[in-house]
Symmetry: C2
Subunit: 417 residues, 2 copies
């Protein structure tokens, strides 16, 4: 079965909005065992949308549209689909009630186009929008003897996600009933390149049938996705687990953990909780990125004591009690300053571990130090502090900061594993 996603919105063609819906939807479909073969984006233009539908209608079995179902005259998605497939749109009375209630609660007047948000395909299935005003809609369509499932979802990512999970997914599952259960498992590896992982798993990749194996590269991290099908969910999971064990055994030192969005942040928090160790952070060039990435994850409060962003020398001296003489003699970009930041942070926060980051994020050099020179120290209660130097050359500011964060967290991983 071939799926296709059509995104509608002139703002996408103008490049002002990044199309995250397409990647999110593609992943969700893949997790259901449905492959996306094409993605198209068109503007709010009837003829070009008709052309996109025509292309998709001639090659895909499941077509998912996102966007263009709001309350303005530009929002033409449902109308154009109905026109192409020669069907009608009718009112979803629940959605229309919600729209009316909303407007009266806001003391606002309804216009004709507001009503359009409650339209749905006649003889189709309406998806109530619980977190917005425009309903989604789905229908079986036939054109030139080719059967298709058409699904229309809202453009705003939060609404699209909610409607897909609660309405579109069960709808798709009920239509494309599968005998087999499909299960995916994600294995994450840190500090190893995609090419190296591919080499280690070469024979498995060549032989793959069930599970299938896919590799994804992220900065400093590789995710291996296993997808198995079997008679039962449990059986599919078991098939994945057997291969997972084999894979992890081939590159055990790089294995981080399981999970689709499992980053080194998750792993470090898990390790700290497991080892009952608390953490504090003193940041300079990373400017809060390390703390932000950790606190983005639920459960971090169990292990994070607190942290400092000491961007200026003065802040390093006043907030972290760094001896001004060290900065004077060794420069603020030095292993000595990183060590002092980590050790003083540990002491002030009464934590078991503390990281200190200093370096040059760019775009300009700092006191003769090149962009990308970074020192990171890990202080430990009652143990010697370790320090590393990075030289991340030819990279923009954002990458220097990101890699520094990852390498700092990796110091904790190396220490605790």
């Amino acid at each position: 079965m071939k799926a296709e996603i059509i995104s509608i919105g002139t703002e996408l063609l103008m490049g002002y909005t990044v199309n995250t819906n397409t990647s999110v939807l593609s992943q969700k479909l893949l997790d259901m065992g449905i492959g996306v073969y094409f993605q198209q984006t068109v503007g709010d233009n009837e003829n070009r949308l008709l052309e996109a539908i025509e292309i998709a209608a001639n090659r895909s079995d499941l077509i998912i549209f996102t966007g263009g179902i709001g309350p303005t005259r530009d929002d033409i998605t449902k109308f154009v689909i109905a026109k192409y497939f020669q069907t009608e749109l009718v009112e979803d009375s629940d959605q229309w009630n919600k729209i009316q209630t909303y407007f009266s609660s806001q003391d606002r007047k309804l216009s004709e186009t507001d009503f359009f948000q409650s339209l749905t395909f006649k003889n189709g299935t309406s998806f109530f929008n619980e977190v917005g005003l425009a309903c989604g809609s789905a229908i079986y369509m036939t054109k030139d003897k080719h059967n298709q499932v058409i699904i229309v979802l809202p453009g705003p990512p939060f609404e699209m996600n909610h409607m897909f999970d609660h309405y579109a997914k069960p709808y798709i599952q009920s239509i494309f009933q599968k005998e087999d259960a499909i299960e995916s498992s994600y294995l994450n590896f840190y500090g190893i390149g995609e090419a190296q992982v591919a080499k280690e798993l070469d024979d498995l990749i060549i032989q793959q049938t069930n599970p299938t194996i896919a590799l994804y590269a992220k900065p400093k991290q590789v995710t291996v996705r296993l997808t198995a099908n079997a008679k039962t969910k449990h059986e599919a999971q078991q098939i994945n687990q057997n291969l997972a064990n084999d894979i992890i055994n081939r590159i055990p030192s790089a294995f981080l953990g399981y999970g689709q969005d499992y980053l080194i942040e998750h792993h470090v928090i898990d390790l700290l909780i497991e080892n009952n160790k608390s953490l504090s952070i003193a940041e300079s060039l990373t400017g809060g990125l390390v703390l932000e990435s950790l606190t983005n994850i639920e459960g971090v409060s169990k292990i994070l004591k607190g942290g400092f962003v000491t961007y200026s020398n003065q802040a390093k001296i006043e907030l972290l009690n760094i001896d001004p003489q060290i900065i004077e003699e060794k420069s603020v970009v030095s292993s000595q300053v990183a060590i002092a930041m980590a050790e003083n942070c540990l002491e002030i926060c009464h934590s078991d571990l503390a990281l200190g980051f200093t370096g040059v994020a760019g775009p300009d050099e700092l006191e003769g130090h090149p962009v990308g020179q970074v020192f990171i120290a890990l202080a430990k209660k009652n143990e010697a502090t370790t320090v590393i130097e990075l030289n991340i050359s030819d990279k923009p500011r954002s990458i220097v900061r990101l890699q520094s964060k990852n390498e700092g967290l990796n110091l904790i991983r190396e220490y605790l594993k």
Copy 2:
């Protein structure tokens, strides 16, 4: 002239990589006065890529391909384009030298597919890859009497960006020589909805010819883009400026500033520099997001003293000297704690202004306080502290944090403007 972008990569169809290249390229083209009418994404599959080329070749004048020019057997973009347009690929000797030099410096052995990265269209133009190994390529193509410009760029965003700016952009400009200069200007507004801006500018939007007007919505922010064409660059800029003045005069209190990526962070840093005021930050629920977003911007060191992430009560007490009794009596989620965080942060950092953030990011309630309840205080040297309460209901953790950050920065904007 119609432009089209074709992204190649199975990882895009699997949804594991968000397609940022498409939006970046679309914006860059639009800034050159070239409209993107279609975007397609296909996998590393010859037949489906041929189909995508066929579709584009029949409707677009400029087709830009990104991705699929690396060193693996999956990288088929140049081969398939050459096949479709019945042309040949030849070696770019500069690129081949770079590849060879790189491999010998790394003590690695070259394979046949590494050579493929140096291939370029015969009788076309090669784009040397200064920051990677695979060269780009461009050529005029003719099929069925339809002339097209074909451009192939690498997939990695950093390489794609660099090659577009340094090679593809001048190439496109030389081919599609325009008599007129095209200039864009971006006006940013904060704390006003897209619908409200559209209403205020209704007559201008209806009458628009030169400049054209486009609206883009971001969280809490609206950007108005003006694009004018004229005989000279200066004249085009002047046309934009005249309309910009009119627009700003209609909604002066919401105007943030000019610039394509001008966020409230930029505005607040500009205001602080202008007023010669320093800032420090004490964060709880935002966990470093405010500091990270400020330090992401160059020049922040002029005004940022430093900051604290006091995620736990203990850290609030130890790092910020918050009186434990206030937390005990008023709860950690209270205006009193936000005020104490801001005021103590100001004192410790010797800054002119300080922000304090406390609240519930979710997903769970905290001590009876609902998710989305947030208190933000702005302390000022020798002036009374102000405090606001937010109630951001029904939103995920990331949005609660983001809105809190924006509203906190807006307190500074309101105070200094």
